[in-house]
Symmetry: C2
Subunit: 227 residues, 2 copies
DNA sequence: GACCCGTATATTGAATACAAAGCCCTCGTT
DNA sequence: AACGAGGGCTTTGTATTCAATATACGGGTC
């Protein structure tokens, strides 16, 4: 089974899907925002059918909630939801990492190193949060790649997208990004050394810290986001 | 499998979704089976639109794979996929169980007991595999309910549906069901006693055994299913 | 003035109709 | 006979159109 998600030809539905997902994750659409099918359709210059299908997929990803005959609303960001997501990652990612490290080849090690360098380069270049987020995720993907577990990867990917929404509203994004870089450096080293237990431990801390930062941030914002 | 019975009004898409999901999980559609939109539409007496939307959701659940301009194919059952799914559950479910037990109230205990009795009753009554599977899942849901983690539950639910496909082709279903009943009994007891570590340990064994049974079964069937 | 109920409108759900891509078979060439 | 080009057929992707439902507004009643 060759996991090749890119073989899918570009379709209108997928374009709309990417557009909407990006707007939700980036915070352009805030939690509670109602997404009107026709508004999107008119804006992009397509019919409502691809928009509908994109929304269905977004609901499966947990980014929107669809109420029958009432339409799609961007999922709200709450502390409870953040804990739900980040702790799921907390349990899951180190497990996948362990599986990956069991089977990792030199190519896999190089993939991790490369992903690390890409992130570092982008951070130093002062790239946008969107770019950094993407490369951050690419690094985590690289860590998991060798596990060769499409299902688990899919679960992780969904969780990450939702987690990213919370990460994007960090107050001091710069500090978080720099901290991430340092931890990625160590993770990449442990990966290369085959030190699985150290890698897992650090990854857990990495995610737990992110969770705590997010929670703190949400409390700081008060009820503004919750409701 | 009725995730949200009361909230969402019954829609054609959801009916088709349930129908197709059921056919895939039950094995009526084998892995590799091509699902023609128009065939389903004609059979049910609806247009292709709801069928398409149902297929999109099924792809998100990992039950079908959609190739652009080529259509939907029922996901194949392979040993690698089974390991992927069952080990994801193996890591995830005990974690959710622990979270649930931290917060469980007497009502939650009663919910687990009730789910256990329902399964026992159905097994003794010689109910169909479909019914037993549903009640089996209902028991696991009951164990997780108190955790109050919708995201994690959703992940678990998806994993379980796919896992169920493998469980359904067990050679000796009766033996597995009886074994499950015994383990459920002990799990329910640990839950009631608040013995979290014992419960987690048993749940892990429960899932690991299921994984091993499934793998054995797949090997026994040889290449017939794999290809 | 508050509340209930019907109607009007906006928005989604589904069906029909049209466009485009993939597949398969034929036919011609070598 | 093997191979490749082309065309027709099948199936999916998208647009357009019609139907059903929820929300908002207004009139009537107490």
């Amino acid at each position: 089974m060759k996991a090749s998600p890119s073989i899918k030809r570009r379709t209108v539905t997928s374009s709309v899907l990417d557009l909407l997902r990006d707007r939700i994750i980036s915070g352009y659409y805030e939690g509670g925002h109602q997404i009107r099918q026709e508004a999107i359709a008119d804006e992009v210059g397509v019919s409502r059918i691809p928009v509908r299908e994109a929304l269905v997929q977004l609901e499966a990803e947990g980014l929107v909630v669809i109420h029958t005959h009432k339409g799609a609303v961007v999922a709200k960001l709450t502390p409870e939801d953040a804990v739900d997501i980040f702790e799921a990652r907390l349990i899951f990612e180190p497990f996948i990492l362990a599986k990956a490290m069991e089977k990792a080849t030199p190519d896999d090690v190089e993939r991790v190193q490369s992903a690390y360098r890409d992130y570092e380069k982008a951070l130093l270049a002062g790239e946008s949060p969107a770019i950094l987020s993407q490369l951050n995720w690419a690094f985590h993907i690289a860590l998991s790649y060798a596990a060769d577990r499409p299902r688990s990867l899919s679960v992780l990917s969904t969780l990450y997208n939702s987690a990213d929404r919370y990460l994007r509203l960090q107050i001091d994004a710069k500090a978080a990004q720099t901290k991430a870089l340092e931890e990625h450096s160590a993770l990449a080293q442990y990966f290369a050394d085959g030190n699985s237990s150290a890698a897992q431990k650090l990854l857990k801390k990495h995610i737990a810290d992110a969770r705590d930062d997010v929670i703190r941030g949400l409390q700081h914002r008060g009820t503004k986001v919750a409701s």
